[in-house]
């Protein structure tokens, strides 16, 4: 990812060189593509097209979709606010235990999301390590609320942003920032005026990745925030529950989620990730 983002001038050359693709690369590449696309095609093949309009006009579907889009966007925003500084800390400073901190940041990537949800309950639940103080001091309880959905999605999605931004930061030349500080800028000003514009594309790529992950989040959300239509029932939850007794409805719902995410991802990629 950092390669394509950084290697702007080189890309023109790469794009033209499709003539002589070696077979040992082409065959597995096509197999990989087929593996990823085949399940999606199967979904389209088995979609009950005739009853689809009925399925899609129900207000519950739109409620779930609106909630999904809102929560994924809020989770991405939250990830940007706290994730980008964290990535900067990991890439640009040296402190004891930095390797450990980086491993901890990527931990939610390997943690089963359901376990993540339980961990969030134990930390921020009404009876949780921190949550009990939130409740008794401020009267804030997070489980079963929309804010809880945003937190669960942030927990799962933010590592994608942090890793992506950190990679971009490491690939970016630190001498620009050093020059800025030599010329009298504070380190924060250098970050704001020099580093941020330099890594904007990496941030955008990471944000898109985090948004996509948040949109599809299921395990942590249902464990931490529960499932209530209009408040915490996002599309993946609606799909899962529909699957229990009405697979046709589940397929229709999946299709909506798929269409919306493809539309957004294609739109964002064109705008942010390919212009260089």
């Amino acid at each position: 990812m950092t390669e394509t983002l950084k290697g702007g001038p080189r890309r023109g050359r790469l794009r033209k060189g499709t003539r002589g693709v070696p077979l040992p690369l082409l065959v597995p590449a096509l197999a990989g593509l087929a593996f990823l696309v085949l399940p999606l095609i199967a979904l389209l093949v088995r979609t009950p097209w005739r009853t689809l309009p009925d399925q899609l006009t129900s207000p519950e579907v739109w409620e779930a979709l609106r909630l999904s889009l809102f929560c994924a966007t809020a989770a991405t925003a939250l990830s940007l606010v706290i994730g980008v500084p964290l990535a900067w800390l990991l890439a640009r400073t040296d402190f004891p235990g930095r390797r450990l901190v980086r491993a901890l940041v990527t931990l939610p990537l390997v943690l089963p999301p359901v376990v993540g949800g339980v961990a969030l309950l134990l930390a921020l639940g009404r009876n949780g390590v921190v949550g009990q103080w939130l409740d008794s001091w401020f009267g804030i309880t997070l489980p079963f609320t929309t804010a809880g959905v945003v937190l669960a999605e942030t927990f799962v999605a933010m590592p994608f942003l942090v890793i992506s931004v950190e990679g971009t930061l490491r690939a970016a030349d630190p001498r620009y920032e050093e020059a800025a500080t030599t010329l009298g800028a504070s380190r924060f000003t250098a970050f704001r005026r020099v580093t941020l514009p330099l890594i904007a594309q990496g941030i955008a790529a990471g944000a898109v990745l985090a948004w996509a992950r948040a949109l599809g989040e299921f395990g942590a959300t249902i464990t931490f925030a529960g499932n209530f239509p209009g408040r915490t029932q996002t599309m993946p939850l609606a799909v899962y529950l529909a699957l229990q007794n009405d697979p046709a409805a589940a397929i229709a719902l999946s299709l909506v989620l798929l269409a919306v995410s493809i539309a957004v991802l294609v739109g964002l990629r064109d705008r942010w990730m390919t212009a260089s």
Binding site: L109, V110, P113, G125, I163, R170, G226, Q233, Q244
Partner: protein, 269 residues
């Protein structure tokens, strides 16, 4: 190592981590079903594969051990899970199972309608709803009506799963308007919310309250009698080990089997 090479490696590492994370979010069934490849024709021997509803886990495991003791040379393998997903794997032909024990007639019907059961299923136990409250019942809940008190956080099962359908049936009889904080995806997660003290009460099965020990307290309510859940059991048509499977079903229905099941909180049919 040159700089671009290292960068490429790092990108590959991040990609691999992302892949791992994405694959981790797909749910996995907890127990595996090894193929029962025996063709015991005369004496009882070989493997019996039993697909059973998750709520039967404790009691069926006990009965499985008992069966193996009574019939040396046999081995009972269980696959516990949601009745609907078990039914789907039986009708899909993916799993060579001998016996299916479901948590509702509706899920059993999926198998019988597909012609995958041999004979008619019989109801072997019933399960009744109970209110699970925090230990010591601090909110003094004694009836369904108490659950509608404002400020009380109640979780129900989603209507698409058997415990949620039963809860709606019980509530429907009372005309109470109960707004839960969440409709959980199965009975265990509804119970967990009370165990973790995130919810004040949940409508779950008696057997779940019993299995949770002193982490929750059970409160009976009369309306639950109108929403009993029947558990049917059936021999499957393509059972690789039909003889032993029949014997296992007989054990479940025997006085001895019923004792284990009622001990776990089930009601006799």
């Amino acid at each position: 190592m040159t700089r671009p090479r290292r960068r490429a490696l790092r990108a590959a590492g991040a990609g691999a981590a992302a892949l791992l994370a994405l694959s981790a979010c797909s749910s996995s069934s907890d127990s595996d079903s090894t193929a029962a490849g025996s063709d015991a024709s005369d004496r009882l021997s070989g493997e019996v594969t039993v697909f059973a509803a998750a709520s039967l886990k404790e009691s069926f495991t006990t009965l499985g051990k008992e069966f193996e003791k009574q019939h040396p040379g046999t081995k009972v393998t269980f696959s516990f899970g949601g009745s609907d997903s078990l039914a789907a794997s039986i009708t899909g032909g993916a799993a060579p199972a001998d016996v299916f024990a479901a948590a509702s007639p509706k899920t059993m019907a999926i198998v019988t309608d597909a012609g995958d059961a041999s004979g008619t299923p019989t109801t072997f136990v019933r399960n009744q709803l109970e209110i699970a409250t925090l230990p010591g019942n601090p909110d003094r809940i004694s009836s369904l009506k108490d659950l509608t008190k404002s400020g009380l956080k109640v979780v129900l099962c989603d209507e698409s799963v058997p415990c949620g359908a039963a809860a709606q049936k019980a509530l429907g009889a009372t005309r109470l308007k109960l707004t839960p904080v969440s409709y959980e995806q199965d009975v265990k997660s509804a119970l967990t919310k009370v165990e973790l003290k995130e919810a004040d009460a949940a409508l779950v099965y008696k057997t779940d309250v019993k299995a949770a020990g002193d982490k929750v307290e059970g409160v009976d309510f009369p309306e639950s009698a109108d929403a009993l859940n029947d558990y049917p059991i059936a021999l499957l048509r393509d059972a690789p080990n039909a003889e032993a499977a029949k014997a296992f079903i007989d054990l479940v229905k025997s006085a001895e089997g019923q004792k284990v099941l009622t001990g776990a909180g089930f009601l006799a049919p």
